[in-house]
Symmetry: C2
Subunit: 284 residues, 2 copies
Amino acid sequence: MSRPIVVETVSALREQIRDWRLEGLGIAMVPTMGALHDGHISLVRMALASAERCVVSIFVNPAQFAPTEDLDKYPRQLARDLDRLAEAGAHLAFTPGVAEMYPTDFATRISVGGPSSGLESEFRPSFFDGVATVVAKLFLQAAPDHAIFGEKDYQQLCVVRQLCRDLDLPVDIIGAPTVRDAHGLAMSSRNAYLDEKGLAVARQFNVVLRRTAAALAAGADEAGATAEARQALIEAGFQKVDYVAARESLTLAPWRRDREGRLLAAAWLGTTRLIDNLEIPASM
Amino acid sequence: MSRPIVVETVSALREQIRDWRLEGLGIAMVPTMGALHDGHISLVRMALASAERCVVSIFVNPAQFAPTEDLDKYPRQLARDLDRLAEAGAHLAFTPGVAEMYPTDFATRISVGGPSSGLESEFRPSFFDGVATVVAKLFLQAAPDHAIFGEKDYQQLCVVRQLCRDLDLPVDIIGAPTVRDAHGLAMSSRNAYLDEKGLAVARQFNVVLRRTAAALAAGADEAGATAEARQALIEAGFQKVDYVAARESLTLAPWRRDREGRLLAAAWLGTTRLIDNLEIPASM
């Protein structure tokens, strides 16, 4: 088991990438905020299946947290993350500090419209600007052939695809299926905030969504089914539901029954905000 | 005299660039909106001095025109432009249509703060977003080593430098001195809008700015000197002055006498808006 190379600067990153390019090796990138779990490791495996070298960035990006959000308490555990990356066979960990990514005179913001509208944006207004800006930077720093993003953050995946299309970023975006625990709970670094009781409630999230997606596929009225889902989440123990919404899979425009659909939701358990999403099975 | 290769699509552009890269050739890019004049040709010459291959883009970018501006009447003369590029020795002209640059679902905007504040932005609020977005796209399409921008559009040059720094775009930005006619009038595609009488007035623009810059260097009060310049421009025949302002050369922050300074101005001659700028000579 060999340890990943760890680099903290863009210039060291580029030097290593250039050496690999000279050897003719392809590069796949997995952008993360660390606190790596099995979901991330599945992204690393997909990266290794798509290119000879896998670069994982670990950067808790302040630009995608609002002042009221959990930037300060977001879990940071670099040593453990590097162990996990070594086990998984990642080749390089890029762990820049905030000053490396955002020097003091930094002043640029990328806004992606289209799929960023509504859903998360309604509750986290500057979130996708922060994501788009840091993802563009990471891609320009590492110049990967492929990048792997989890479907867990489904709207983010759509926004990143739109970003690359719109800016002609020559990176192939690969979406990876959500990894779930034995109870169907989607893996998330934020699950670490939950105690046993919270976990038991959280595990109802996917159950409710699965039932709702099936009902929609079977012809249930959209407004009725999503209202029922909100009610069911509250009854399961969630304190607040930000949204439960059916959308068109590719564009995230309002769902039409003749198009592939996706059911997306966000809900609060105490001070922890969870998101999840599922495919709406094709109508029978 | 060999004619430049003309390509209209990003894929054809990338194919040619890749071939040149395989031959080990460096690439310099000159982004333009066409209507090429001696100023542009000087940029092509600087490109040819900095790399083996010179790519000139010709694209009248709708995103940098406000609805009230001169997008429709902006001069378009591709055949003549290609003749001029052939004479100058440019290797490739990239002439995409609007649909190639902005497909119907295009939804991304790049905003650069810092040097974009004030001056042009005050009168053309979405101008630099349009410039930054199209320049990022062009750089990602062509992946040049160097790109040449004229000092004539001085604020734009500063914004492009900031864009590249902030997004880690690996392009070396070269600023080229403004080319002027025998009377000191800065070359501009918009000079084509002027008749003989208008040209005679326009030629006073640089005279007034030169006098003002010299006065500032000699210790004149900034508010007084720029107010006098505005008055002098009106007396010379300009109808309206948008701004005459002294700024710090690198950041475009308010000018401090211990820093390199730049005097920038914009003024209207009928329906034609002209801009110009000059270095403020070091204080004696």
